[in-house]
């Protein structure tokens, strides 16, 4: 198993900016590693701690949250709330024994296909270096 380990990243992307940025990476045919599985939500502020922890519990090695740049959230200030929630969540993850670097928050605009692809590249590498998430390993044992 070990030699075929590929980091699993769950991505929550807001419809208006980051999801559109990911689409832009696609239309511009930019390449990035296929680790991420994207789930679309209307605003990054739709995501709460339970969903992120659920992802880790089920065996994700990392979670990516993508929203609009500050000031650009389609719903005025949802992304500020996301930012606050993520800060708290990072501490919580640490308590759970999950390296907070496994949770990444990034602002990507609809035009920033290149930034999205680059971020995916970087994040996949970073997570690969961190190795499998301890919870994911546990999950595999249980199964």
């Amino acid at each position: 198993m070990a030699e075929t380990w590929n980091p699993k990243i769950v991505g929550f992307l807001c419809n208006w900016c980051c999801y559109a940025g990911a689409d832009m990476a696609g239309t511009s045919r930019m390449k990035y590693p296929p680790n991420i599985r994207i789930i679309r939500v209307m605003c990054s502020s739709r995501i709460n701690a339970e969903m992120v922890i659920k992802a880790f519990q089920m065996g994700a090695d990392a979670v990516f949250i993508g929203g609009c740049h500050p000031g650009d959230c389609h719903y005025v200030d949802g992304n500020y709330r996301t930012q606050k929630r993520i800060a708290v969540l990072r501490r919580l993850l640490e308590h759970l024994g999950i390296d907070p670097r496994r949770l990444r928050l990034e602002w990507v605009s609809a035009a920033e296909g290149e930034k999205f692809a680059q971020t995916m590249d970087e994040f996949a590498k970073e997570v690969a270096e961190l190795g499998p998430s301890p919870l994911a390993a546990l999950q595999r044992e249980v199964l």
Binding site: N6, K8, V10, N15, W16, C17, Y19, A20, A22, D23, A25, G26, T27, R29, M30, K31, Y32, P33, P34, R37, I38, I39, R40, V41, M42, C43, S45, R46, I47, N48, E50, M51, K54, A55, M58, G59, A60, G71, D72, C73, H74, Y75, V76, D77, G78, R81, R85, S109, A110, A111, E112, A117
Partner: protein, 649 residues
Amino acid sequence: MKIGVYVCHCGVNISNTVDVQKVISEVSALPTVAVCRDYQYMCSDPGQEMIAKDIRELGLDRVVVAACSPRMHEPTFRGAVEAAGMNPYCFEMANIREQCSWVHEDKEQATRKAADLVKSSVARAALLEPLNSTEVPVTHAALVIGGGIAGIQTALDIANSGYPVYLVEKDPSIGGHMAQFDKTFPTLDCAACILTPKMVDVARHPNIELLTYSEVESIEGSVGNFHVRIRKKPRYVNVSLCTGCGSCATACRLVGRIPSEFDMGLGKRGAIYVPFPQAVPLRYTIDPEKCLMLKHGKCGTSPKCVDACDRDAIDFSMTEEILEVDVGAIVVATGYKEFDPTIKREYKYGTFKNVMTGLELERIFAPSGPTGGKALINGKVPKKIVFVSCVGSRDKRIGNPYCSRVCCMYIAKQAHLLKEKIPDADITVMYTDMRAFGKGYEEFYERVQKEGIKYRRGNAAEVYEEDGVLHVRAEDTLMGEPYELEADLVVLGTGLEPSDAADAIGHMLHLSRSADKFFLEAHPKLRPVDTVIDGVFLAGAAQGPKDIPDTVAQASGAASHVVNLLSKDVILAEPIVAEVNTDVCAGCRICEILCPYDAHAFDEERNVMTINKAICKGCGSCAAACPSGAIAMNHFRDSQIVAQILEVI
């Protein structure tokens, strides 16, 4: 539960990277999947018919299409399933093109990912609930922001279709940049002759309320029903009394002492002014930054403009007014600003007076401009003229990699006009690449060359002065040799950037920008006048650099989309809103402070929260925060999201 799954090849766009058959065999095995098929182009007529037939014959409960981005074709397929009798919100899309086949190369891994994404969509689809859109009435009026040729054309087209239009222009007159030109390429039409009649039409149109010297303060609401606050800046001149005679301007103590913005600082005005003689409305405005009376409360013994005005139109006590209007649609036509070449230090703009920009030279040609239309640069007739192209365009170092699209042609126009006025002038254009793409442009470029204008490929490296004479150093990239030219006029072919005043509008409406920082259209090819915000449209250079013909075409396009919307009495509002389960709500009121729209109202009697569907926009922030899980975010319920998480891991 019977789910139909349809995997699109998108020609070879998907199937080249994703093994469609493998995805199908994996997905078909899912217990909820009743049928799983593939097709070359799911969005085509036969593709849609395939789905419709299955809905009718197999009695499908849910449909999943795995194809391009839902941002592209979700509306298409929602329409298709609805026509076949299914609730459109029972439809779900898996994005295996933009977010899979187009971005990955390894076929096996891409196929794995595609299968995961489709399975996650199937899991979500099984939990989707039918939703019913509510009808909302449409306000039959439009707001157009920006009164350049784009805004003017849009406003006239909408008004001519019978709908009221509020046209908001921040400057004292409409007209935009086109009003600054004498002639326009490639036909050399007199700009004023084609523009000013339209400006007058705007002012006279019974359906247009022209709000010049005004700015949009805030915009609330959504498609069909926007509430707009407009700030009318004080002109300190009562426009219903002012006749535009100009006696005040001649009398002003500061006449001829303040650089005129319209003349790019080359001409001078007084503290009370009209930007140009054909201004619409032809009403005077006092510059509060300059007027002695407004700044110091004193202007000699008495303000001369007041003495000169026999209509008593001047009113120093005027204050700004806030106007509130309701509209169903908005067109953003905020145009562009000229690139500021001081950043390109090598051209010494601002250091040498005879290095000027394209727009400055436009004013030199204008009969109403600072030189009365005579080709005089700082009082002298230039004989050696050098044009430098692509200043601020196609330049990655300054962050403007795009082509500004009009500079090649305005340089050709200006070179022609100079040659006409100064037949013995020696004119050289240093160009990067020649872009004469429009109708009649190549022909015009040829004509200009025949008139004796020299074109040399390769851009200017530096402008410097020696013994009082300007020199332009360049490299001829065709000959592969450096050379230098003396010049008594250097014209910088300055490019276009989005207007600064567009920023605030962009934030108010949450408009996205493309990489060039101009406003982003909903689709680069098929929806060039729409934005992703329903009811908000783009016209003219606000969306990207363009010439007048393209601007006018887009403006009419935007107007037709507005009219299309306004011709409806009601539109359907998205039912993707949050709902409170009052049995579970503990009345903690945490959600209330989170809502950016005040959609939440607390029911004191029952000690529960309620959400006004008409106000909620569906961000889901409240649902994410509710400690008792009492808020359900329709179409993005916790259970639906969690189901997706389980499938992708």
